[in-house]
């Protein structure tokens, strides 16, 4: 698939009491119609204990968007091969297992992704892990064969752990949490 991605990065810096707080707004959109990247808006203001670098912010938003695109594709098609590009560890193991069991049950899931408000909440000092909270607007449809058996159209919250690899940031943990968790 040929897709053209456009990244808009807005960096706001201010120094209250000598502290620099960075806020990123990363909007990702693509012209490809079939498997378009969902919109991801990353807010990294007040991130601790390490501030985020501009390039890291852009990369994380991009790979998080790719992860959701791949996950949606895999859950609908029942093919887990694509997940290795953006997922690793527990997140990947769980999705692979889920897709395998979906296939056995004849169930598939369609996600209509209306975008993600991603808030970075923890970035380790050595840069080896970042924790984020995602407020996602999703429409999730569950099918048994061709029969629609359930649909949800809701704002859902996810706790995300991402870790860096050689050329990308991987989603290592992705858990849906209840809004009252925080």
């Amino acid at each position: 698939m040929t897709s053209i991605a456009h990244f808009a990065l807005e960096l706001k810096k201010f120094s209250p009491r000598g502290l620099k707080v960075a806020s990123f707004a990363v909007a990702i959109c693509t012209l490809a119609a079939a498997q378009s990247l969902p919109q991801v808006h990353l807010d990294a203001s007040g991130l601790a204990p390490r501030p985020i670098e501009e390039l890291t912010g852009t990369t994380i938003a991009r790979h998080y968007a790719l992860a959701w695109r791949d996950m949606a594709g895999a859950l609908e098609s029942g093919r887990s091969e694509v997940l290795s590009e953006e997922f690793t560890g527990v997140a990947k193991d769980r999705l692979v297992r889920r897709i395998s069991e979906q296939n056995q049950a004849g169930v598939h899931v369609r996600i209509v992704d209306h975008g993600h408000q991603l808030k970075a909440v923890f970035y380790s000092t050595d840069g080896s892990a970042m924790q984020l909270v995602d407020q996602a607007q999703l429409e999730i449809q569950i099918f048994d064969g061709n029969k629609l058996i359930d649909t949800q159209n809701a704002s859902l919250e996810y706790m995300v752990l991402m870790t860096p690899g050689a050329d990308r940031w991987y989603v290592r943990d992705l858990e849906e949490v209840s809004a009252k968790t925080f």
């Binding site: 769980r94 909440v121 050595d126 924790q131 859902l156 752990l161 849906e176 949490v177």
Partner: protein, 295 residues
């Protein structure tokens, strides 16, 4: 208006009655799910499935999908293995139509710590130089999002150990620690509930302190030798640390970098007239030696 309404009243009544009857009969047949709002990961529980007849039950979770035929009017037992992954689950019951409900599976108590200690080597007596980060997981590797206390226990190779506590927020506890004054192995253990994870870092000597050299004349040359190179806490700088000797004489300026061997650095210079020789290690300058060229 009034007249029209009066004429249609019996018909409207009949339609309302039919609608109510349809609604009641449909309600009596339809399956209905009653799920708990939250469940602890790995704990079995039951879902009340009201109605009568047979239905198909689906459970769709983060890592698990169940589909099975069930008899309505009895409780559906959800096995502990069905709800190991934390997150949102959908329970769906389909007979003539489908009904669904969602519930949340939350992490069980802490059982695993993913512990990072950074850096692996750190100079002694350096404030806020060690970063300890612990991710708290339950036995199924769900991040424990409820507040948990993590105790970081520091055990130096020599001297008394100590500990610092940190509260995990969103499953993550972290803190910065000072390195202790003595070089050697330091073990840091993260402890939460009954689980613990240990990491070891190496504390190394800090910058050189009180760097001194002496000159030993030998013909037209001079051998320069440092005293044992130590940091301000008395720890010997490791062999291989580079010491720079710089000589300025009639021939110009020349610098020799030499590694510390067995605690000292040694170099030999040939001399051309009066010379000024200095020594440095890292950012630390040592003493200077002035030679008049008549050795």
């Amino acid at each position: 208006m009034q007249r029209t309404s009066h004429i249609n009243f019996p018909l409207r009544n009949r339609l309302a009655g039919l609608a109510l009857l349809g609604l009641l009969s449909g309600w009596a047949r339809a399956a209905e799910l009653r799920v708990p709002a939250t469940v602890e990961a790995g704990k079995s529980f039951s879902i009340a499935a009201e109605g009568s007849g047979q239905a198909t039950f689906y459970l769709v979770g983060p890592d698990h999908v169940v589909k099975r035929s069930v008899a309505l009017g009895s409780d559906l037992v959800i096995q502990s293995s069905d709800v190991r992954a934390a997150g949102r689950y959908r329970a769906i019951l389909c007979s003539s139509s489908c009904t669904s409900a969602g519930f949340q599976v939350e992490a069980a108590k802490p059982a695993h710590l993913s512990f990072f200690l950074h850096p692996s080597r750190v100079p002694v007596s350096t404030p806020q130089s060690i970063d300890a980060t612990a991710f708290v997981f339950d036995q199924y590797f769900n991040l424990v999002l409820t507040p948990a206390v993590v105790d970081f226990r520091i055990t130096p190779a020599s001297g008394a150990g100590f500990s610092r506590q940190s509260s995990a927020r969103r499953g993550v506890a972290w803190m910065r620690l000072d390195s202790t004054p003595h070089e050697g192995r330091v073990q840091v253990t993260a402890v939460s509930d009954n689980t613990e994870e240990a990491r070891v870092i190496q504390q190394v000597a800090a910058e050189a302190c009180g760097l001194r050299m002496k000159a030993i004349p030998s013909g037209n040359a001079v051998t320069l030798e440092t005293d044992p190179v130590r940091d301000c806490s008395g720890n010997a700088l490791p062999d291989g640390t580079v010491v720079s000797f710089t000589k300025v004489d009639r021939e110009g300026k020349s610098t020799v970098d030499t590694p510390i061997k067995k605690g000292i650095a040694r170099v030999e210079f040939s001399l051309h007239g009066p010379a000024q020789i200095g020594v440095a290690c890292g950012v630390v300058l040592g003493n200077e030696v002035a030679l008049n060229g008549k050795l």
